[in-house]
Symmetry: C2
Subunit: 283 residues, 2 copies
C-alpha cells in the first residue's frame, strides 16, 4: 500500500495576524480530516503580502527560526495531526531577512529551514526590498511521507531549482506561493503561465508537484492586489490531478510515490543527462 494523500490549501489574509493563523490552522485540520498526510500552506500565510509595498515598518514582522511561537504552534499541530507541514515565514537572522520555509515533520520536529533563493522585484512584488537571496541552497527533507523538496514562489520559475531538488532525490516538489495581479498592467494574468511552468517541472523530473497559492484581495495605498488562487496538484507527467478556483479551501489528491519512482527511473532521463555540457547554466 503506497498511496499517499496530500493537500494544497489557499486562503485570504487580512491585517489581523491571529485571525490569519486561526484560518490556516482550520485549513490544516480540514485537510487532515480528509486524510491528507502532507499539507501545504501558502507563502507568508501569517500576514497580508506586505511586499506589495515598500515600507520599512514591515521589517518588524520578521521573526527568528529559533524561539518562534508561530512555528512552535504549527509544529505542535503537525504532531497532533501526524502530518508533514511546510511553514512559510518571514525570517530574521541577525541583521539579515529572508523569505523562508521551515519543515515540520509529522512528529512535530522542525527539520530546518530553506531560504528562498530567487527574489523577485517589480510593482506589487517588492521582495528585493526585504529579503536577501537565500544562503541555504536548495534542500530536500526526509519526512514521514518521503523525501520532499520545497521551493518558494519565485523559485518555481527556475527549472534549475526543481532539477536540483530532483537530483537530491525529492519525491515531491512543493511550492508555497503568493501571486496575482500585476499593478503595472491590469490585463496581465499570469495564472496559466504560472501553472504551465510548474507542470513542466513535474513532467521533466517525473516528480509530483503541489502549489498552494494565496487568494483574495488585499488593499494597499495605491492599488489593490488580487491573488488568483488556482492551487493545484500535478502528477509525475505534469498532468493536473486537481485544481482550485479563486475560493479559499482545501484540495486533496492521492499519489502513488512508488509508481512515480518507477516511472521516473524507467523513463531514463536521469540516466541520459550530460552534465559536462551544462556548464553554461552555472556561469
Amino acid at each position: 500500500m503506497t498511496d499517499l494523500t496530500v493537500a494544497v490549501t489557499q486562503m485570504s489574509c487580512g491585517p489581523d495576524a491571529a485571525a490569519n493563523l486561526d484560518r490556516a490552522e482550520a485549513l490544516v485540520r480540514e485537510a487532515a480530516a480528509s486524510g491528507a498526510r502532507l499539507i501545504l500552506l501558502q507563502e507568508l500565510f501569517e500576514t497580508p503580502y506586505f511586499c506589495a509595498e515598500q515600507d520599512y515598518g514591515h521589517l518588524a514582522l520578521a521573526r527568528p527560526f529559533e524561539d518562534n511561537p508561530v512555528l512552535a504552534r504549527f509544529a505542535a499541530l503537525a504532531a497532533e495531526l501526524r502530518v508533514v507541514l511546510p511553514l512559510s515565514f518571514f525570517e530574521r537572522d541577525g541583521n539579515t531577512y529572508y523569505n523562508s520555509v521551515a519543515i515540520a515533520d509529522a512528529d512535530g520536529r522542525l527539520l530546518g529551514v530553506y531560504r528562498k533563493t530567487h527574489i523577485p522585484n517589480g510593482p506589487g512584488y517588492q521582495e528585493k526590498q526585504y529579503f536577501a537571496p537565500g544562503n541555504t541552497g536548495f534542500r530536500v527533507w526526509d519526512t514521514a511521507v518521503g523525501r520532499i523538496g520545497v521551493g518558494i514562489c519565485w523559485d518555481q520559475w527556475f527549472p534549475e531549482c526543481a532539477r536540483a531538488m530532483a537530483l537530491m532525490g525529492a519525491e515531491l516538489l512543493l511550492y508555497p506561493t503568493a501571486i496575482g495581479s500585476e499593478p503595472q498592467d491590469p490585463d496581465l494574468n499570469s495564472e496559466a503561465h504560472w501553472r504551465t511552468v510548474m507542470r513542466g517541472h513535474a513532467g521533466a523530473n517525473l516528480v509530483p508537484l503541489l502549489a498552494s497559492n494565496r487568494v483574495g484581495a488585499e488593499p494597499w495605498r495605491d492599488f489593490e492586489m488580487r491573488f488568483y488562487g488556482g492551487s493545484f496538484i500535478a502528477g509525475p507527467t505534469g498532468e493536473v490531478l486537481g485544481r482550485m478556483d479563486d475560493a479559499p479551501g482545501v484540495l486533496t489528491a492521492t499519489l502513488d510515490l512508488d509508481a512515480a519512482r518507477r516511472q521516473r527511473h524507467e523513463w531514463g532521463v536521469f540516466r541520459d543527462r550530460a552534465p559536462h555540457h551544462y556548464g553554461i547554466l552555472t556561469r
Copy 2:
C-alpha cells in the same frame, strides 16, 4: 512590423527514401506558400525510424555533413524559397555516428551542425546502438529570422538543454522529433507528457517553441511503431498556439519575436537566476 510566420510539419516515412524526400520537399513548399519563413521538418525524415530495431545494416544510411546530397538539395530549396530550414540527418563523421541537425539559412548556406546530446534507449528507441552522444554542445544559430536554438527529440526532455539555448540568446526553440508507441507497454501514451514538458521550457524561458513530430505507422520485425504526430507551436508563456492531430501536413503560426523579447526581459527570471547554487546540475 515584427511578425514572423513559422511552420511545423509532420509526415509518415516509408522504405523509399526518394519518396520521403519528395514528401518533405512538398511540405516545405506548402509551408512556404503559406508564408512561413522558418519551417521545421521532423527528426530523420529521409528514412523510417530505423532505431526501432538493432540492425548494423542501418549504419549504411549515415552520411557525412560535407558533400551530402540531401543537405545540398534542401539547402538549395531553402535558398529558392528564402526560408530557414533545420535539417535532421544521420551523420557519419570518420568512425563515429551522430543524430544531427544541419541548419540551412534562407540564403542556402549551411551554417553548421548540432549533434544530439541526449541519446535515449529502450524498446522501439535503440538509439544508443547507433549514435554517440553529441560532442558539439548546445548551439544557437543566427539566421534570417533571428537566433534559433535546435534540440533533437530526446533533448527536449532536459530543461538544461532549453535553458542553455535560451542563455545563448535563442529567440526560438525548435525540436524535430520522432516519438510514438512504446512496444513494451501498449497502454503508455506519452503525448501529453511530451507536450507538457516542452510547453514548460517555452514558459520558463519565455521563448516560443516549435516541435515537429513524425506521424504514422512503421512496421518492424516484431512490432509496429506508431508515431503520434501532434506537432505544435507554443508561445512565450507556453500557451499552445496551434497543434496538429495524427494526420500529415503543415501548421503555421505567426509570432512577434520582439514582443516575446520584451516579455522575457520584463518578467525578470534571467535577472534573478542564482548560478552559484546550480552546481549540482553539472556534477
